[in-house]
């Protein structure tokens, strides 16, 4: 039974219980953990010791890339590849270049935000072991779940299971792979 487990999951009735349990899990030194709740819990990041996402930096880099791509495209078209005089203005007319540069900045940053978010979340994910637990469906309605994965360096089936049971949840489940 202890072979081929994705992890051990505990079920809680309230958000407060989940956050308290998450703090104890973090303090016990577990790192490969996850929490599930029907609505966003701002406290849970801190309680589980989840680090800030790198996504903002990726988005910033995406925005800069868009800005430079816009400038590069316009330089290539208007100065290098096909220079024609428009309205008596110089080939390299920065004020006129700004709107496309701005648009591409937004576009690249937005794409990085959406796809980066999906990628960092490991989505799309057609199969996830937690759904092997029937009661887990309640995570979208009224129950709160906490998971310690078997990949955690501190994971030991017997010890982790009894630790999870000591957290005071409703029930503790073994989650098969």
């Amino acid at each position: 039974m202890s072979e081929n487990l994705h992890g051990i999951m505990a079920e809680f009735d309230t958000a407060t219980e989940l956050v308290d349990a998450a703090r104890r899990v973090r303090d016990a030194g577990y790192v490969d953990t996850d929490a599930f709740s029907p609505f966003p819990l701002h406290e849970i990041d801190e309680a589980l010791g989840i680090k800030r996402s790198v996504l903002p930096y990726l988005i910033f880099a995406g925005g800069i890339t868009g800005l430079l791509s816009g400038l590069g495209l316009e330089w290539f078209v208007h100065v290098y590849d096909f220079p024609i005089i428009v309205g008596g203005r110089p080939h390299f007319s920065l004020p006129a270049f700004v709107p496309p540069m701005f648009e591409l900045t937004i576009l690249f940053a937005a794409f990085t935000a959406v796809f980066g978010m999906l990628f960092l979340n490991g989505l799309p994910s057609p199969y996830h072991p937690v759904f092997n637990i029937e009661r887990f469906a309640l995570a979208t309605r009224e129950k709160f779940f906490l998971l310690i994965e078997s990949s955690d360096p501190q994971y030991d089936y017997a010890a982790t299971r009894s630790f999870m049971e000591s957290l005071g949840g409703q029930e503790v489940f073994d989650v098969p792979e």
């Binding site: 701002h42 406290e43 990041d45 801190e46 903002p56 910033f60 309205g87 008596g88 203005r89 004020p95 006129a96 700004v98 709107p99």
Partner: protein, 406 residues
């Protein structure tokens, strides 16, 4: 009733009030002496101070209506300070008197001296008659005062009613009033700033002018609120109200308005640059040469790029000390922006420097300090009159909690 005294402004506000009056008084005396010798310069500097500080009062009205429409914790915690800002509008009304006198006597504004055959004078006709211009100016401020009076009286009524249903209804009334009034507000601001600032260059026009000031004054208001709240958070009662998340939200709004300011300004520049018509480009040509050009570049970097990059960072917005420093910095840039609008315009008194020459008078520095001192003295006086938070607002508890969450 115990809540009323619980949320009373701390004593330190009274000290700031006295200090402001002292500084403002000295500044005003200096202004009066300067204006006696150089009336045009004195009035131009007064206009600069009026557009900056009066704009802060008008901006507070806009933000007050905005927060009634959108709701949100940030609006609940700054509502009372915004209301105090709108109650400075009677002072703004008085501050318009020197400008009215200046126009009536033809001491400043080039259009008061244009020949009657000038196409602008012919076309605009009685609309630009000095008496009508002056009446309009007072009317705009009176209209803002009326909106502010309504919103303030509903809010005061809410403080007196312990009934939740009643205070909810007052809140609803205020938000229903704010929607249409916001539209009227933007139209009035457009008319007002076209009269007060754009006509300094009587032959020049820009259709985005009003929005530049709607966004600019809104930004001034948010910066002022952040600086004020960061100075109140350490003492009771606001130490139990404000949290870092409130500053995070206000910081986001500052970021948004910094971007809107840049967006509107660039739109104006791009359209005029693309059109390339001499009567329009002259405004930018004057402001891109000599010292004015350096100010223009400084505005791009320090009114937009620097605050933009700094405010992008979450940590920065959550630390109120840092955020208040950037807010004060942006307020200085707001003043510089106003100066960039007003400073290069035509002077009419004999012997005055030619248009386009770079010139900063000592009065351009002293007058905003003097007027600012008086404005702040009035503001702090108003702030002390009511509890610092809307005590019976049904959303108050949630708003306080929001600030302390993660």
């Amino acid at each position: 009733m115990s809540d009323v005294s619980k949320y009373q402004a701390p004593d330190v506000v009274n000290r700031w009030r006295t200090l402001s009056l002292g500084v403002g008084g000295i500044g005003l005396v200096a202004w009066a002496v300067g204006t006696f010798f150089f009336p045009e310069q004195g009035l131009r500097s007064w206009l600069l101070a009026f557009v900056f500080w009066g704009g802060l009062g008008i901006g507070c009205l806009g933000v007050l209506m905005l927060q009634y429409m959108t709701g949100g914790a940030w609006g609940v915690v700054i509502r009372r300070a915004c209301e105090a800002g709108t109650r400075t509008l009677p002072l703004v009304f008085l501050m318009f008197i020197p400008i009215a006198i200046g126009v009536y006597t033809g001491t400043f504004y080039e259009w008061t001296h244009l020949p009657p055959t000038d196409p602008v004078v012919v076309q605009r006709g009685v609309y630009m008659a000095p008496w009508l211009w002056i009446v309009r100016g007072f009317f705009y401020i009176a209209a803002f005062m009326f909106m502010a009076w309504l919103l303030n009286s509903w809010s005061a009524e809410q403080d007196k009613t312990p009934d939740v249903e009643m205070s909810r209804r007052l809140l609803e009334k205020a938000s229903r009033f704010s929607g249409p009034s916001m539209v009227l507000f933007c139209i009035l601001v457009t008319f007002a700033v076209v009269d007060w600032v754009m006509t300094l260059e009587p032959h020049w026009f820009s259709t985005i002018w009003g929005l530049l000031y709607v966004a600019g004054w809104g930004l001034s208001c948010f910066c002022f609120m952040v600086a004020l709240m960061a100075n109140l958070i350490e003492t009771a009662p606001m130490n139990g109200v404000l949290g870092r998340r409130h500053f995070h939200d206000l910081g986001k709004l500052m970021l948004a308005l910094v971007m809107v300011w840049a967006y509107f300004n660039f739109s104006q520049f791009l359209i005029i640059w693309s059109g390339n018509i001499p009567e329009e480009t002259v405004w930018f040509l004057t402001r891109m040469r000599s010292g004015w050009g350096y100010i223009g570049v400084a505005l791009i970097f320090f009114h937009f790029a620097f605050p933009f990059l700094v405010l992008l960072q979450q940590d920065f917005k959550r630390r109120w000390k840092w955020l208040s420093w950037i807010a004060i910095f942006v307020l200085f840039m707001r003043l510089l922006d106003m100066f960039w609008h007003i400073g290069p315009t035509v002077r009419i008194s004999p012997g005055a420097i030619a248009q386009g020459s770079f010139y900063v008078s000592w009065m351009d520095i002293v007058t905003p300090i003097g007027v600012g001192g008086i404005w702040l003295w009035w503001f702090f006086g108003q702030l002390m009159k009511r509890p610092l938070v809307p005590i019976n607002d049904p959303y108050l508890e949630g708003a306080i909690e929001h600030g302390h969450s993660h």
